[in-house]
Every structure is written in C-alpha cells, then in structure tokens.
Symmetry: C2
C-alpha cells in the first residue's frame, strides 16, 4: 500500500491512473476504522482496478461543542486494516494542506442539509460536502463508497454529484452491525459498558418500525411507538428524531410509500448515536 | 465545429478526449460574442489540442431586477465567429438541463464574492461559481479562459479552483478595447449613441489613475480624482465604485503596492459598465 500525504502527489497519481484507463474506487474515512469501513474497502476492491482510501478527520464538519479533539485516532491500526482489505493507495493529507490560510469556498446542498441530523448539527453537512468535493477533485474516483449508516450524508453527496455534474458514481453499502444489531461506528467506543448494552434499543426500534410498516400501520403511529421504545430506555438521555421519512427528500412521511426511511438519532450521555433502515412496502 | 446540446454527451466527449491524452482549452461565454471573446478563443486555440466553447445565459447570475430577459442573444452570428476562431466543440445546454427541478447545490467563494460588484449584485458571484464549477465538471478542461474585464470574476474562479482542488488552470486574457478605449462588452449594445460616446470616460479615468500611481500619489487622492472625472460626465447616472484595490483580496488599498487594481463600475441610464486595469509600481 502506497501512502500519499500531499494533495499535489494525490492529484498527479490519480491523473496518471486515469490516463492509463484504470478505474478508481474511493473510500473516504475519518480513520478509527471498523468492519463497516472495511466492507466499503472490499466493495471498492471488487469493482475497480485501483482502490484509494483516505483518512482525514475533517475539522469543518464538527460543531464547536462536538468531539473533534477527542475523535478516536489510530493510524497504525488503520493502516494494517486497509492493507488487509486490499487498498492500493492511502491518502492522508494534513489540515493545513486541505485548508490553507484564507480558505473561503464552500459547497452547500440546500434543504437536504438542514433536515434530520442537519437540524441538530448546523454546518455539519456543508463541511462534509465541501471536503468530499475536494477529495473527489483530487482522487478523481470512478466510484466512491459510503456507508448506509450515514444515510443522509450519502443522500446529500448523491445530490451534490448530480447537481454539480461530478464524474463519480456514489455507492451506498449496507450498514455492518454488531451481534446485537448496533450499527458499527467509530463513536461506539465512547460508550460506557451499560450504555453499550442499552444501545441495542436503536436497532430494536428500527426492526419494530419495519414490521409495523409491513402491516400497514400509518407513519404517525409508528413514530409514536418508536419514541416510546427509546424513552423506555433510561440511558437514552435525548431523542433528536425518530420516525418515517421519504428517502429522497428526507421529509417526514404522512403515508408510507414504495420506499421508506426509518431513522433515529439519540444521545446516550455525551455520545450521539444514529441508525436507519430503508424498507419497501 | 461540433455542436453538443446535452450534459451527458458533453461529459462523454471530454472523458474520451482526456483518455486520449488530449488537452482541452475551454471558453465559457453567455453568447453575444465580441472581439474579447474571440481573443479568448484564439488563446485557447494556440495552447490546447482541442477547444471547447460554451454559450449559456445563466439565469442564476442575474438579479431579479437585472437584464436576463433582454440579454442579447445571437446564436447564428456566434456560431460563425466561433467556427472562424477555430473552436472544435460548441456546448449549448438549455436551462432545464443545467438546473433540473429540485436543483439545490451552490458553490460559494466567501469574502471575495461580497466585494466590489458583489456588493451591488447580491448572489451574482454564487451563480457564477456554481455554473462554472458545473461546466468544469462536464468539460474537464486543462485550461479555462476568462477576460480581464471581469477581473473580480476571474479572481473568484481562481480562488474556487485552488480551494476545491479543481484540475483546471485558469488563464486571464487581456481586455480587448474599442478605438476610444471602451472595454468590449455584450452590454455595450444597450448604450444610446450619446452614452456610447460618453462611455470612453471609464478608460480615461483608469489611465489617469494609472499615471497617478506611477507618480507616487496615494490611493485616497487618486480615488477622489477618479470620482470627480466620472461625475463630470453628465450621462454617468451612478458611480458604484471607483478606486485602487488589492488584486488578491479586492480590499481598498491605503498605500499602493507591487500590483494595484484600478477598478470602476458605473451606470449610464439602465446600463451597468465596469472596467479595470492592473498596474505595478
């Protein structure tokens, strides 16, 4: 695995690969890798000539009160995992290279960025779309891989690609879960043992909602049941949202449709957890 | 000259050219072409394997009270001129193809976009950067050509390219002028005969300011002299700005520097005219 540390070298490398007619699969990450990331890497490996992964903890997608400083970092462990997953090139730029003094451009996907998580993390998705646009321009991927756990992020990036006519196919890979159903996340390591155990309530809530959709119950009733289930868990300290949404617009559904996004975001102490499921009728 | 009308066809064509290792020079325009545009085309012709020009009157860069509807359109004349200038491909997408229903992404270069013309045309430069970013992603140019008459636009696009790590070299070509010094502009045809004659005051004002910079006079005094000269012309109905600026930051200069932007924007009746000059010390 080749390590590239500068935007210039990354751009030269991807230009060269493209003129050689090679396809590039790209897996952008913030490091602290888990099975979910490795599944993205393996998907990229099976569908492209070359696989580029990046590790960059992007300061602009963290709010001032969020966990940028304490976000887990494990570069040595990450390198080994990516090597094993068959990644060819690891791109690890530093913050000053990505945001030089005077940096002042932003890419914004309006409407979608303000809903669900966006309502609780103002500016978060603008930070995401701007950095992902930059990475796309440096890595020039044929395909880019995102996890479904961050459904809204994947949806917003798809919209950015389509609106800005970017030359990338974005691929959303299934969420990888622990044995009790908890979605893999770098932030799970923040959980105290009791919280970790209690966190299984998110997946149980999604499963219950999915069954209710299948039996034709209306979204309002399902959302209420979801809130009840989450509130019944004393270690859930805040429910940010829990309900049934349109997977295209992210608007709350009044009636179930062909595809329905069931999504939740809660806090357990200082740790914010999200999860979702998309179910047909 | 090949005419391409859809984003899909444009993307396929530029992809193919790039994998063939050919360089692409790009001249984005809003049509109503004059000698200034053709100079961009000739520069692109001499420096690239292939030349792509576009004609698209971009609605999002016009304010609600501006001249989008009456902006001059002359497709037949434009085609002939571009053919003569040696353009290989003319890209003429329509508005629904560029802004399909639900379009919601914008690219913004903060600070620079609010100064000078930006203060009088809110949202204008966001419209410019968003559409230029889209064109870059479709045309995949090696080099893109902009006229110096729109100095602020060229500066903002350079900043977008650098901040977003776009794979384009932007080239600013000298302003082409009429025999009395008036900068070529598609909007000059709005001028009544008396206004057209009076419009030479812009270039005279720039020349006077350039001479004053050379003799070491301070910017404040030069700006006052510029205002006086413009106010002395009765057909100038509004002076939006006139002064000496830093060509990097577009901030007003207190003392002259190595490079100085002399810039003016006025209205003559309903017609807005801008011009500028960059002079060293």
């Amino acid at each position: 695995m080749e390590i590239i540390r500068t935007p210039r070298m990354m751009k030269e490398t991807s230009r060269r690969l493209l003129t050689q007619g090679r396809t590039i699969g790209f897996v952008p990450t913030m490091g602290a890798l888990h099975e979910g990331h490795l599944y993205l890497g393996k998907s990229a490996r099976s569908e492209n000539d070359m696989v580029v992964a990046s590790i960059f903890v992007n300061p602009t997608q963290f709010g001032p009160a969020e966990d940028f400083e304490r976000y887990p970092r494990d570069f040595e462990g990450d390198m080994q995992k990516l090597e094993t997953a068959g990644v060819d090139i690891l791109f690890v730029p530093d913050v000053p290279a990505m945001y030089p003094e005077g940096f002042s451009t932003s890419v914004e996907v309006k409407a979608l960025s303000e809903k669900l998580c966006g309502a609780f993390r103002p500016g978060h998705f603008n930070g995401v779309t701007t950095i992902v646009c930059k990475f796309f321009n440096m890595v020039l991927p044929t395909r880019a891989y995102f996890g479904q756990k961050d459904f809204q992020q994947a949806r917003i990036i798809q919209k950015m690609i389509s609106d800005l006519n970017l030359n990338v196919e974005s691929i959303t890979c299934a969420t990888v879960r622990e044995s009790d159903g908890l979605a893999m996340s770098s932030r799970n390591r923040y959980l105290l043992p009791a919280e970790r155990k209690a966190a299984a309530v998110l997946y149980k809530t999604l499963q219950t909602a999915a069954q209710m959709i299948e039996t034709g119950i209306e979204p309002r009733v399902i959302s209420e049941r979801m809130q009840e289930m989450l509130m019944a868990e004393p270690l859930v300290t805040e429910i940010q949202y829990a309900g049934i949404y349109d997977p295209e617009t992210l608007d709350e559904r009044r009636a179930t449709g062909n595809r329905n996004l069931i999504a939740v975001a809660v806090k357990m102490g200082n740790t914010r957890l999200i999860d979702n499921m998309v179910v047909g009728l």
